[in-house]
């Protein structure tokens, strides 16, 4: 595969203005499929979750799934869209073996939801507080049915052309699929790749909060197509490419970055960008040319005659709106205010997957700063080491709050607290269990501490002499000895003071 010429990213975004747009497909988590009663479930042996309807057998007819329509309205409302009071499904006609009817029931010029937006916060060193908001316009949200899944065996490309044979699994055929299309997002400049990634991240969180999908990119329940174009300035629009198969958050960012660099090199060489679909390759981070869209495929859309129009009543839409959970953007606004954080600080908690945990820890009585400190510090490190999600660590927010409370009460210092957390993670019980079992607690008995100090001075006469001679920095070694002797249970600052008092000249 020839490697495309690339322009360094910084040069590319200096010379050209990128314009991005995203089309996201979300498989809804309804119990049954879009137009039949088959389970809408991932997995299952090939072609076991099928019936005459989702196999498109002659004579079969679709009956729409009300829950799928409700989920789509929920998504539309959460994205600030207008919900159509009357719209129709349409047939998108094209031949492909994994499409049972050789047309897809989709929506064309009458989508269920139109004209909304999603606000995201993007890191920007140049901005106040290190991040800035970007409003991503939503063009439309529509509902359709998923296709089956092809597996092309043999050949070099993994595509149907050149394959020895192909296998088709129709389990996925007919699973409700929502397509969310953004408006072109202008003015992102060098931040374009990040804007793309953060948008998909925010969208994923939103969909999860709405409980409409399990949004697993690796299982294909959230799939992204990324449109990228470059223009000489912010006024003109360039020719776009549509990059398919972008199936992780990181890939979204990489795909945009690669396309910006590639298209900049193409334009710089005096060529024109070809309107085409491109395929993203996870392994190399590159995109390669797919089907040309210069001659647009004619899908011969027309209103689906097997279905009646969808006409959600105002009352129903109002009910759905009233039942919406707190959405991520509102939550962000509330928590940044409650916790006194900048958006960038909040983003760090968010990106670490810690918002729920910090909130629950605060709810259990911890100060927001303490809760954040433990989850993003010690616990994030442990999670990193074991490659686990923060939420998967075997410690509860209530336990973290208890540790913070013990520190605040002076029972533990940070060092002891880390030991307690280690023990909790190791399954030794609750923080109080660990403190009791290990006899951990800051030694606050002055007599016992003084005895340990005297012991340390006696054992290290050379060091003691240096301190007496005014080299107070040398006291560190004595502090260390005392801490060792008390197994860390002393307050190091207090120990240092006691040593300095004991060895004070004169």
């Amino acid at each position: 595969m020839p490697t495309a010429a690339l322009m360094p990213f910084a040069d590319a975004v200096t010379r050209y203005e990128p314009l991005i747009g995203l089309e996201t497909h979300v498989e809804l988590g309804t119990v049954t499929k879009m137009f039949c009663g088959c389970p809408a479930r991932f997995g299952g042996d090939p072609n076991t979750l099928v019936c005459p309807v989702c196999l498109g057998l002659p004579g079969s007819l679709p009956v729409p799934n009300r829950a799928a329509i409700e989920y789509t309205i929920r998504i539309g409302l959460a994205l600030n869209c207008t919900i159509a009071d009357w719209c129709r499904f349409a047939r998108k006609n094209y031949f492909y073996p994994d499409m049972p009817k050789n047309f897809q029931i989709s929506q064309y010029d009458e989508p269920l939801c139109t004209g909304g937006w999603l606000d995201i916060w993007v890191d920007d060193p140049a901005a106040d507080g290190g991040s800035r908001p970007v409003r991503v316009g939503i063009e439309r949200v529509h509902l359709e049915e998923d296709t089956g899944k092809s597996l092309h065996v043999g050949g070099s490309t993994g595509r149907i052309h050149g394959a020895d044979y192909s296998l088709v699994d129709y389990n996925r055929a007919g699973i409700p699929l929502v397509e969310i299309v953004t408006k072109p997002v202008p003015g992102t400049g060098a931040l374009a790749p990040e804007v793309a990634r953060v948008y998909v991240t925010e969208l994923r969180d939103l969909l999860r909060a709405l409980a409409v999908s399990d949004v697993r990119m690796e299982e294909g329940s959230l799939r992204c197509d990324v449109n990228t174009s470059l223009a000489p300035d912010a006024v003109q629009w360039g020719t776009r490419t549509e990059t398919k198969n972008v199936n992780s958050l990181r890939s979204v960012e990489r795909a945009v970055r690669f396309e910006i660099q590639r298209q900049a090199a193409v334009l710089d060489a005096g060529h024109r960008v070809i309107l085409e679909t491109r395929h993203f390759h996870e392994d190399t981070g590159e995109t390669t040319a797919g089907r040309s869209k210069e001659e647009a495929q004619d899908y011969r859309y027309f209103p689906e005659p097997d279905l009646v129009p969808v006409a959600p009543s105002r009352e129903w839409v109002a009910q759905i709106r009233a039942a919406l959970p707190e959405l991520p953007a509102a939550r962000r606004a509330r928590l940044t205010a409650e916790w006194g954080l900048s958006h960038r600080e909040f983003s760090m908690i968010h990106n670490a997957g810690g918002v729920d945990l910090v909130e629950a820890t605060v709810a259990a009585g911890a100060a927001p700063a303490d809760a954040r400190k433990w989850w993003l510090g010690e616990l994030a490190r442990r999670a990193n080491e074991s490659g686990a999600e923060l939420a998967a660590l075997p410690i509860t927010p209530a336990q973290v709050a208890r540790v913070a409370a013990l520190v605040a009460a002076g029972t533990l210092n940070d060092q002891l607290a880390r030991q307690v957390i280690d023990a909790v993670l190791a399954g030794e019980g609750s923080p109080d269990d660990v403190v009791a079992a290990r006899g951990l607690a800051v030694v606050s008995d002055e007599g016992a501490l003084l005895a340990a100090v005297d012991e340390a001075i006696a054992a290290n006469p050379d060091v003691a002499a240096k301190v007496r001679g005014g080299k107070t920095a040398a006291a560190g070694a004595l502090v260390g000895a005392v801490m060792k002797a008390t197994r860390g249970q002393a307050d190091a600052a207090r120990v240092r003071q006691l040593i300095l008092d004991r060895l004070a000249p004169g």
Partner: protein, 498 residues
């Protein structure tokens, strides 16, 4: 006895069986014998399900013996158009592309027939995928008109109409998309009904044009058609376009058979130029008859009906071009050219080239063109606007009258082969029936005598959406008056099989 049984009406057979005068098995065997005797000439059936039919009949007899409840038509034999899916019989739609296909599920109507104890004798011939007006587009050869075997039985439900007219079955079921029940009923001298669109389920009816397809009954009397209408109709949750409303009281209306005080409109656009003089003569007499029975007759113009035929030939092909896309050799049916080296696309293409007949291909191409980007507005879009105008014509007309009438077809049965090379001449056969399909309202064809050529003429009665009872009321009145005037049933004059 066997011969007498096949001459009886469905209502008569049901009564005789209920009275214990005859068993369902005897009734079924009599009709199977008649099929054996006559169908080599009529060729109404593509598949005769002797064993399944006899088994269904025995089950009815057992239920009756056990005192269990039975449907109004339990034990009555029926000829089912080969467009309804059946798990125990092939379903071909008259097409080579589905030759031998055995569906894994029953159509809703098939299920209702079985549940009601109706005995399905077999599957009847039809124009391929219901596209045609003569059954000559069947991949398995044409059926013949029992009045004159050298003539067509009409189409696309020609097999069911011919089976009923040839006394092979007292009842038949067809589908009407542009006239495919009423037109064969008219030219075979039987009763045929297109119910209100959505009044009878399309689930398991292999689609031709989804927004038009309407399954309905064929019978030798209006009452028989009404009895079958009640058994087969009603809301079906498996069909999103099915009407969620009670079935209109069609049986009561057929028994009422009274038109006194009813306002009847004659549509000049459907009963003038283009109609055979013999057809017009019978039609005028039928209108006079209705007047003599106490109906008030007026002329009601429907100015946009003249655009119905061209609008239909954009809408129906557009929908069929999409509906028939699924026949691609990938999952079922014919597969051509799969030699291990051909691509999926080549196999699809070769299969469709060989599996579809000329008329089906013509309509797929018409529809594909009409839906194409850049042409959609001028063709499909414009045709839908015409459709709206036709609906408004009907609405305006039904403000003035209770039912509209016209000849069912412009001509009597034409000779086999006469129009096969002239699609436009073939299309004109549905001139009078298409408006009701486009508007979705109810319409019935009832025999109203013979033209001078000795062939039957049909009177079409049209009623508003969900007023199906009215067409039965008027149809039964015409039938009763004509039978009484004639002194015998019209079909007794059918010469083709004598």
């Amino acid at each position: 006895m066997a011969g007498e049984l096949t001459m009886m009406t469905a209502a008569g057979l049901a009564a005789a069986m209920a009275a214990g005068e005859v068993s369902a098995l005897e009734v079924t065997d009599a009709h199977l014998a008649r099929i054996g005797d006559a169908d080599d000439r009529v060729r109404a059936f593509l598949h005769v399900a002797t064993e399944q039919a006899r088994q269904a009949a025995r089950a009815v007899d057992q239920r009756r013996a056990a005192g269990q409840p039975l449907g109004a038509l339990a034990g009555v034999p029926l000829a089912l158009k080969d467009v309804f899916t059946t798990t125990d019989m092939p379903t071909t739609c008259g097409s080579a592309i589905l030759d031998g296909w055995r569906p894994p599920y029953d159509a809703t109507i098939t299920r209702r027939l079985r549940a009601g104890g109706v005995v399905i004798l077999g599957k009847t011939n039809m124009d391929e995928f219901a596209m045609g007006s003569s059954t000559e587009n069947s991949a398995f050869g044409p059926s013949h008109n029992p009045w004159d075997l050298s003539r067509v039985p009409g189409g696309s439900s020609g097999g069911s109409a011919a089976a009923v007219a040839a006394f092979e079955a007292p009842l038949g079921i067809g589908t009407d998309t542009g006239g495919s029940i009423r037109q064969p009923a008219a030219v075979c001298g039987v009763v045929g009904v297109k119910p209100t669109y959505g009044g009878s389920s399309r689930y398991g009816v292999v689609a031709f044009a989804s927004s038009l397809d309407s399954p309905g009954p064929l019978a030798r009397t209006v009452l028989d058609a009404a009895l079958l209408h009640e058994v087969m109709s009603g809301h079906d949750p498996c069909d999103a376009t099915s009407v969620d409303a009670p079935v209109p009281p069609v049986v009561a209306a057929a028994r009422q058979a009274d038109v006194s005080g009813l306002r009847i409109g004659v549509v000049p656009e459907l009963s003038g130029e283009g109609c055979q003089p013999g057809v017009l003569a019978r039609f005028s007499e039928a209108v006079e008859l209705l007047e003599s029975l106490g109906a008030k007759v007026a002329e009601v113009s429907c100015p946009h009906f003249s655009y119905a035929l061209p609008a239909y030939y954009l809408i129906a092909p557009s929908e069929c071009s999409s509906n028939l896309a699924r026949f691609d050799a990938m999952r079922y049916g014919l597969r051509v050219g799969d030699d291990g080296t051909a691509s999926a696309e080549e196999v699809m293409s070769l299969t469709r080239a060989q599996g579809f007949g000329a008329e089906v291909k013509r309509r797929i191409m018409l529809g594909t063109y009409a839906l194409s980007s850049g042409y959609y507005d001028a063709y499909y879009g414009k045709a839908q606007q015409v459709r709206t105008l036709i609906i408004r014509d009907f609405e305006a007309a039904f403000e003035q009258v209770d039912v509209l009438v016209s000849p069912t077809t412009p001509t009597t049965a034409f000779p086999l082969g006469e129009r096969v090379d002239d699609p436009l001449a073939m299309y004109v056969a549905d001139l009078c029936t298409i408006p009701s399909d486009l508007a979705g309202n109810a319409a019935l064809s009832v025999p109203c005598g013979l033209a001078p050529d000795g062939l039957p003429v049909g009177l079409q009665i049209m009623a508003p959406v969900l007023a199906d009872d009215r067409i039965y009321r008027v149809g039964a009145a015409v039938e009763a008056a004509l039978d009484s005037r004639r002194g015998h049933r019209l079909l007794d004059q059918a010469k083709g099989l004598s």
